[in-house]
Amino acid sequence: MLKAKNRLGLVFFPAFDWAISPTHPEREERLLYTLDQVSEEGVEDIEGIKFFNPVLAKEEDIKRVHFCVPDVDSVVTKSHVISAGGAIAAARALFEGKVDKAFAVVRPPGHHAHRVVYGDRGFCIINIEAIMLEHIRQSFGPKKVAIVDTDCHHGDGTQDIYWNDRNTLFISLHQDGRTLYPGSGFPDEMGGPGAYGYTVNVPLPPQTGEEGFLYVIENLVMPIIKEYKPDLVVNSAGQDNHYTDPITNMNFTAQGYAKLTELLDPDIAVLEGGYSIEGALPYVNLGIILALAGLDYSHVKEPDYDPDKMRQPGWISDYIKRLCNDIYGRWLRKEEIARKMFDGKDFVRRNKRIYYDTIGIMENQEETIKVCRSCSGYTMIKSKCDLGYFILAIVIPPGACPRCVEEARKIYEVADPGDYTGIYLQDRVNDEFKVKK
């Protein structure tokens, strides 16, 4: 039998008994054919590939990342707890030394879930990569991490959570926000005052194919990662860039995804979106599995694969080249730009409107970040939504300086419950989570 070059841990959990609704893309059938393909290929017999069941993400795991409004139990479903727990199980297998690489093929996805959560948006409620990562940092100590999101949609939730964290480099490749949900993810979205430049957005034009994606990985993503020197590389491995995906407009392929995986060489991959359940997912997932395991993936091809048809037009190649140059320039000049933008300021404020497409509500947010010389600073969020909630949420990040901790805790203490429907504190220095109403 075959032997994997890298020991690979697979959490394969198709949740065959859960759907958002019977005809929703997030339905029981989503990973059915993928499991068929993986089973038929005999992946479970390959020496060095081990399967793990998900664990259940605990309430603290979720609270370490999110402010669920009004509370965790009211907004988070069992399926999301298991999906996040699947990512945790994969990462734990890696950190406990059982495997060299891990892949969580789980559903539903999570990368559209922001720090504040009122419900489901973009099929996500809680951010499964962030929950996994913070669980790992809590259990195994601080880690410098690069998250590379290769889903076709902008990973706006992950961006929001790591906006001001320079220990988490977030890079998102996605279809240009002017042509696709959620409409964000432009190169000038680069992070908060404590982590400016550590959010990197690469909006790609519709019809981008193998050539374009691999160009971005080789010429932009890998150089940045090399300079950043992370302890861990996580891939949010959405598969909706595929040419057969029903809700997007890209021309990526199973071969392309496998090559991307080989180049990026992530420690952990987590499935995000991907809704071409017959034509793409069985082949793309197989390609990623083989690439992670260090096995030959050159025969993994869709039945109707035709590289000539998938070739991207020349103007797209040129556009992507210029785009990568521009973004890499921003990366190199990040400190300089940050000084210009933030020097002399005590606080940096921005307003956001966040649309929950699945449940049809709008959230208005005012986010205020403390600019601190000794740490990345705490964050205050005032958030209001159509459901009638108006909350104040305070984030004390890991590694916050004593003064910031004291100041932020004081804001929590003195805030008047009469002014809000709820006041929330996430104190990562003391691993403490409080609410007052």
């Binding site: 065959f16 393909q37 298991i82 029903p246 083989l290 096995l295 993994v300």
Partner: protein
């Protein structure tokens, strides 16, 4: 009267049962070249003054196929394989000659690309030139649609025997295992056919006209004549005879662990809810993982004759056997010597056992009795550790639904059933270690032969219906037929319950008390765009595993 025979590694155990009681037993040594002779002399011993007309049934397990594979005494096989996209299939080449087709069937059983028929025609000529008679055909996703395997067989022409097709052996997904299973079936066919006709002839000479059944690795039986098409099912059926024997003898209805303690190994199996647990994917034979349904049996390299020594201050038992126990004239101290010294076993020369323990313990400054206790204690620990390790593994098998993940049942043995030579001597010690009651059933010495005698037919089918395509497939029966859009789970269940009987009769005759049951079922709405276009229905049915009744005194 019923005869049960279990062909083990060196001996044949046999019983004659009458009215559900053991009338006579026999133990006959044999060598791998003389299995038929061995079986005959065991039968002769049992039936010395018995009217052969009164024998209703002979059930036997055989090592003929296992040995053929392990000793490399198989026929050359020409393999015809079709893999389509996926893993590079070259590692699957396992026959004397391997030919790869260029077609492809996808995961839904849709023909994406037909294969070039000339490849098969050329292969047919080539195989004949090479003097190859046995052919195996395995294509990817043939269990979703067997059309390429069937077509290839047709194109080969009628000059080959056997032509084994993958879909007919198992309905499970796993292309590499399908390839190996197909290969092995074709490779052992000739040997098994020879064995079957020799048995047939020998029994006829003795006037035994009763049906003869062979044991399968899953603890079920199939008719000897019909088994000729499926010889691969008989490989590694040894442990299944013992497990079925424990089922008969222990009257167990809950989770339990079964320990068969032999000379150099202890085989570990489990009952889940009183029913023997099966391997999740299929049994592994030599280097070949297969789809052959088999009773779960894993061993730990420790037994009564394992050599015992100290390495530093650590007592090491096994994994090798250096000969018989010292009490029986062997070269090294063994657990059996410890049992003899402690008077748990009445065997050989106790003085020699004493000397063995004395010499071993002297280095460590402990008495012979203490040494003997230490050995048995260590033996118990090793068995316990392995049992727990296997349980942990079994209880963390992948599940695919939220219901199973949250509420799935775990196997937690409530008792242990122990057989094998030292079973009685070790039961108290094991009870202390495992902290569950340990039972040594009556007649445990011939549990394997009793198990063989009372095993019944087993069979499994996998039905898959895709109403969007309008097809129903049952690979084990080679069925692929049109269905209407109104086909649903209820209809699928009903059809599976009928078809499983058809499958069973392809393997043997169904006893009256055999029951069919649905063991797995699922029904997925297939949605394309935002419309439901059909249902993907999957039903697995089996003949409920069972044993014929046995009375104990």
């Amino acid at each position: 009267m019923i005869i049960g025979l279990d062909v083990g590694g060196t001996h044949i155990d046999a019983v004659l049962l009458s009215n559900g009681k053991v009338l006579r037993t026999a133990k006959v040594p044999y060598s791998s070249g003389s299995i038929v002779e061995g079986i005959c002399s065991a039968i002769d011993e049992l039936t010395e003054d018995v009217d052969p007309g009164k024998i209703n049934r002979v059930n036997l397990s055989t090592t003929i196929c296992t040995n053929a594979v392990l000793e490399g005494k198989t026929s050359p096989v020409g393999m015809i394989l079709e893999s389509g996209p996926g893993l590079d299939a070259s590692f699957l080449a396992c026959g004397e000659e391997n030919v790869f087709l260029d077609g492809y069937i996808d995961h839904r059983g849709q023909e994406v690309k037909p294969f070039n028929e000339n490849i098969v025609r050329d292969a047919s000529v080539h195989f004949k030139e090479k003097g190859i008679l046995s052919v195996g055909i395995a294509t990817k996703f043939s269990v979703r649609n067997p059309v390429h395997e069937l077509k290839a067989k047709e194109l080969l022409g009628g000059d080959f025997c056997p032509v084994t097709m993958g879909h007919a052996l198992s309905g499970k997904l796993n292309f590499p295992r399908r390839v190996y299973t197909t290969y092995l079936n074709a490779a052992v066919y000739e040997r098994f056919r020879f064995f079957a006709s020799a048995i047939d002839k020998a029994f006829e000479e003795r006037g035994i006209r009763a049906p003869v059944n062979v044991l399968k690795a899953d603890g079920g039986t199939m008719n000897l004549k019909k088994a000729v098409s499926f010889p691969v099912y008989t490989v590694l059926s040894g442990p299944s005879a013992s497990v079925m024997g424990c089922w008969v003898l222990s009257d167990n209805h809950e989770d339990a662990v079964i320990l068969d303690i032999g000379g150099t190994t202890t085989d570990i199996s489990f009952f889940a809810g009183g029913i023997p647990l099966l391997e999740p994917r299929g049994i592994k034979i030599g280097a070949y993982p297969t789809l052959v349904r088999a009773i779960y049996s894993h061993s730990v390299a420790i037994g009564g004759d394992s050599a015992v020594r100290f390495e530093g201050d650590k007592l090491v038992i096994g994994p090798r056997r250096e000969g018989p126990p010292k009490a029986l004239g062997g070269p090294m101290p063994t657990p059996t010597d410890a049992m003899i010294l402690l008077e748990l076993l009445n065997l050989g020369k106790k003085e020699k056992a004493y000397i063995a323990m004395k010499e071993l313990g002297e280095v460590m400054g402990i008495s012979p009795e203490e040494t003997a206790h230490l050995i048995l204690d260590r033996m118990g620990d090793l068995i316990k550790e392995r049992v727990y390790e296997l349980l942990k593994d079994l209880n963390s098998r992948p599940v695919y639904t939220i219901r199973e993940l949250l509420y799935g049942e775990k196997i937690t043995p409530k008792r242990a059933v122990i057989i094998g030579g030292p079973a009685k001597a070790l039961s108290l010690m094991l009870e202390r270690k495992l902290k569950i009651p340990c039972v040594v059933p009556e007649n445990f010495e011939v549990a394997n032969a009793i198990g063989a005698a009372l095993s019944r037919i087993t069979a499994e089918i996998n039905l898959i219906a895709d109403t969007a395509q309008g097809y129903l497939t049952v690979p084990e029966l080679g069925i692929r037929e049109k269905i209407g859009r109104d086909f649903n789970l209820e209809k699928a269940r009903k059809q599976a319950m009928e078809l499983i009987k058809e499958r069973a009769s392809a393997l043997g005759s169904l006893s009256e008390d055999a029951e069919a049951e649905i063991v797995e079922e699922s029904c997925f709405n297939m949605v394309r765009g935002f419309y439901t276009v059909g249902r993907n229905i999957r039903v697995k049915a089996q003949i409920k595993p069972g044993v014929s009744s046995f009375e104990m005194d």
